[in-house]
């Protein structure tokens, strides 16, 4: 590494409707450097990478590649200019071969129309040999392990003669040996002419692979540190900031209602390993963790929306078999998805019908006739109780604001009289004022004896609402903290607790 700058970003800004995703962010990548970019969910990492890889256009800021203005108009253009990105979700066609994937859209052709497979495979073979990758041009990508698929992506990036390679959480799906191989490849890629921007939540990896670390928070540039002289706690405290700790906490911290839900050894094929926790009456149990830690998966497995591989669920002291959400509802567990529009509401149906959906049999006589009058009365009751702002209960759900849609989903489960409610990102996409109302609603429900799980990616929200906080990392529960003991740093420490074995029980 030398100190000359390969890629310089100054004052980058980008807004999306309602969100200032990036505000005055700087980044400089030196020749021969691996530069890590870290930050919490929503810190602006993805947005910055989207600008660099040509997916989105910046609102402001200067981008210089080797001193020349860099303004990619699309990802293909960015690749031609020398910046390639490898997304966390690999963008490969599983049914095509390695060679077909690498040269997709640029296949060697004969007479302009006939694909020349021989030239394609020869060129791919040369490329793979040059990179020392253990792949065959004719391998089907779908048959490869994730680690090898990633190699295909790297080879593809190299085939464009990339000078800057952006890697977004490249180790998320790799085991330790594969990570070692990947790091070897990265070191091999880095020459005095090239550089790597490396995004990861895994603190210990940064020490191994990166030269410098840039921290983003809430769309702002915070600091850039030399890895050699930086410590993990220092990076974490820069990531979460200091202002959070002093904010509001729940009025009463510990409650000792009886245990209403007890989950033991919950596991799924894809992600979850041995997740165990208890939930008490009158309690809000927060679930914190980084994107992909498995919080939503816990909720979906508990209510039977996803298949469980292992684990037992005990409700009010009785073990229950939950194979589908209907069983969970019968046991009094309601799940409010993070994606209201997709999983929570019938957008084209009325508020009234949405509120009645989970408890239609209650409003149905023996002949199967639905008592619309009773539904209307119950819905009107909920509309006024939860202060759902709608001209009438006959309004279509799609015409309500996000906060009021959320209230309608809450009303659905209140009518069903569930006493265990799982809220997944209850305030996502809801404006500030409405957030306060949702918080008040959650507090009120807990005070009236409901047991609540609240999954949230916003640390201030978790700290403000939860009596206890369960922290997840890579499909495992890494800590359950009492609110009084919890700090943003502690939560972030356990949320980045990769590689640690075992799991905790609350």
């Amino acid at each position: 590494m030398n100190d000359t700058v390969l890629l310089r970003v100054t004052g980058a800004g980008k807004s999306f409707p309602g969100v200032r995703a990036l505000d005055d962010v700087d980044l400089d990548l030196r020749h021969g450097e691996v530069h890590a970019v870290v930050g919490e969910n929503g810190a602006g990492k993805s947005t910055l990478m989207k600008l660099l890889s040509g997916i989105d256009r910046p609102d402001s800021g200067e981008f210089l590649l080797d001193g020349r203005p860099y303004t990619p108009s699309n990802p293909r253009h960015a690749q031609e200019l020398g910046i390639s990105i490898i997304h966390q979700e690999l963008n490969l066609m599983a049914d095509l071969t390695v060679a077909q994937n690498i040269f997709i859209g640029r296949e060697p052709r004969t007479a302009g129309i006939v694909l020349n497979d021989r030239a394609l495979n020869r060129r791919t073979g040369q490329l793979l040999a040059r990179l020392g990758l253990p792949l065959e041009p004719t391998d089907l990508v779908g048959d490869l392990t994730v680690a090898r698929q990633q190699m295909v992506e790297i080879a593809k990036a190299m085939s464009f003669n990339a000078r800057v390679l952006i890697m977004d959480e490249p180790t998320a799906a790799l085991n330790d040996t594969e990570v070692t191989t990947l790091f070897g490849l990265i070191r091999q890629f880095v020459t005095p002419a090239t550089g790597v921007i490396y995004i990861s939540h895994r603190m210990h990896e940064l020490a191994q692979i990166s030269d410098r670390i840039t921290v983003l928070r809430d769309g702002h540039y915070i600091d850039t540190l030399d890895t050699a002289s930086a410590s993990v706690p220092q990076v974490i405290s820069l990531m979460v900031g200091r202002d959070v700790a002093t904010q509001q906490r729940p009025p009463t911290t510990t409650r000792t209602g009886e245990c209403v839900l007890s989950v033991r050894g919950l596991g799924t094929k894809a992600l979850l390993r041995d997740v165990s926790f208890d939930l008490h009456r009158g309690e809000i149990l927060g679930f914190a963790g980084l994107m992909g830690a498995g919080r939503t998966e816990v909720a979906r497995a508990v209510v039977g929306a996803d298949r469980k591989e292992a684990g037992t669920i005990t409700v009010h002291g009785r073990e229950v078999a939950i194979a589908r959400p209907a069983d969970a509802a019968k046991a009094g567990i309601g799940y409010l998805s993070e994606d209201r529009k997709r999983y929570g509401l019938l957008l084209g149906a009325s508020v009234r019908d949405n509120i009645a959906l989970a408890s239609l049999p209650m409003f149905t006589n023996r002949l199967g006739f639905v008592a619309d009058g009773k539904i209307g009365a119950a819905a009107a009751g909920q509309v006024s109780k939860l202060r759902i702002r709608t001209p009438s209960a006959a309004q279509l759900a799609q015409n309500l604001s996000g906060g009021n849609q959320q209230k309608a989903v809450v009303a659905k489960w209140l009518v069903r009289d569930c006493d265990i409610l799982i809220f997944d990102e209850p305030t996502r996409g809801i404006d500030v004022g409405a957030k306060e109302e949702i918080y008040a609603l959650l507090d009120d429900m807990a005070a009236h004896g409901k047991a609540i799980i609240m999954i949230s990616s916003e640390l201030p929200e978790v700290l403000r609402m939860s009596h206890r906080i369960a922290v997840m990392c890579a499909g495992r529960l890494t800590a359950v903290l009492d609110n009084a003991d919890a700090t943003p740093e502690k939560i972030m420490h356990f949320a980045t607790h990769f590689g640690a074995e075992g799991t905790v029980t609350s």
């Binding site: 997709r342 019938l346 149906a349």
Partner: protein, 341 residues
């Protein structure tokens, strides 16, 4: 003359597109545009043929239209439930044929009493629907594939069971009265049409007023959200396909009764005619939206168009061209509406 309905259908669509969804009245109007449109098209076609032919608007011809609409219409009523729930059932045409053959087997070959044979054939239709429901819900097959398979199975079984020959209802001469007996002495008002009318009312009530109908709309509107609300979606889908199958059974009995014989071929293609009637009537193939009234109007449009073209002596080949144009126009309107959503 063929473009009458299609032009009307495609020009009014943008109006629905432009209507804002903020106002509930406007939203209702926008949602009902295609149904209002269907009624208007039906009236336009009726008026057109009344002027085009003196034989068209006569009691006997109108009864004939209803007779022609009955079998396909009953199939369409049942399959409306399936389509509203976001599914599709391609097996209703050949399933109907198989149910007719089974009626022949029960009554003629096995000598069952009339009521038992008819009931058996109707329940056999329910069984076909139940099996479709299992394929879709339990095996998780796409409805198109599951019922395509059943369409071929039913078509083959009808030939195998009948020995590829029509079965005549010699031992039950009164069987043919089910469709053809006039309920008004001295006039021609066949029992089959009355059964059709009764089923219209019945299915309209079930779809609009019962928990079955409500869940059909919910599942078609957002299956995932309905499941997460604690509704056993798999079970209700089986019930919905079974209901559709019962209508198939009734249609099979009436079709056999009309011809006084169970024909082992002939149902193929009726499923598409029935689906067309449902779609023309404003039920979205995406699910979540639709009505029995719309399906009835859609069935009548197809029947009137076919009859009117015949009465005005347009060659038979052109009749299917006209129906085809109506189907394309109707689906196009459905897509415009989906784009807006």
């Amino acid at each position: 003359m063929t473009p009458t309905a299609p032009t009307a259908a495609s020009t009014v669509a943008p109006t629905g597109n432009a209507a804002t969804a903020r106002n509930p009245v406007l939203a209702w109007l926008a949602g009902s545009v295609q149904q209002l449109l269907a009624v208007a098209s039906l009236i336009a076609i009726l008026v057109f043929f009344s002027f085009a032919s003196p034989y068209f608007f006569t009691p006997s011809n109108l009864i004939g239209i209803l007779m022609a609409a009955t079998v396909t219409g009953i199939l369409a009523l049942g399959t409306t439930f399936v389509i509203v729930s976001g599914g599709i059932d391609l097996s209703i045409g050949t399933g109907m044929t198989l149910c007719g053959v089974m009626a022949g087997v029960f009554l003629t070959n096995w000598g069952w009493p009339l009521w038992a044979g008819v009931l058996g054939a109707v329940l056999f239709g329910g069984l076909i629907g139940f099996l479709n429901g299992l394929s879709v819900s339990v095996l998780g097959l796409p409805p198109f594939i599951a019922t395509l398979g059943m369409m071929l199975i039913a078509s083959g079984l009808a030939l195998v069971i009948s020995g590829t020959k029509p079965i005549y209802f010699k031992s039950q001469p009164s069987f043919q009265l089910l469709m053809n007996q006039s309920v008004i002495p001295g006039h021609r008002f066949p029992l089959g049409v009355v059964i059709f009318l009764v089923l219209i009312v019945l299915s309209a009530v079930v779809l609009a007023k019962t928990i079955l109908g409500r869940y059909a709309f919910s599942i078609g509107s957002n299956e995932e959200a309905t499941a997460l609300s604690g509704v056993n979606v798999a079970r209700w889908k089986i019930i919905i396909y079974t209901v559709s199958g019962l209508f198939v059974g009734v249609a099979g009995v009436l079709a056999a009764s009309r011809l006084s014989s169970a024909q082992p071929v002939g149902g193929l293609g009726l499923e598409l005619e029935a689906i067309a009637a449902v779609v023309i009537g404003g039920t979205s193939l995406q699910g979540g939206r639709g009505s029995i009234a719309g399906t009835v109007v859609g069935s009548l449009i197809v029947a009137v168009l076919t009859n009117g073209l015949r009465v005005t002596e347009v060659p038979q080949e052109w009749q299917s061209v006209a129906v085809g144009c109506v189907i394309i126009a109707a689906v196009y309107v459905d897509m415009l509406r989906r784009k807006r959503a």
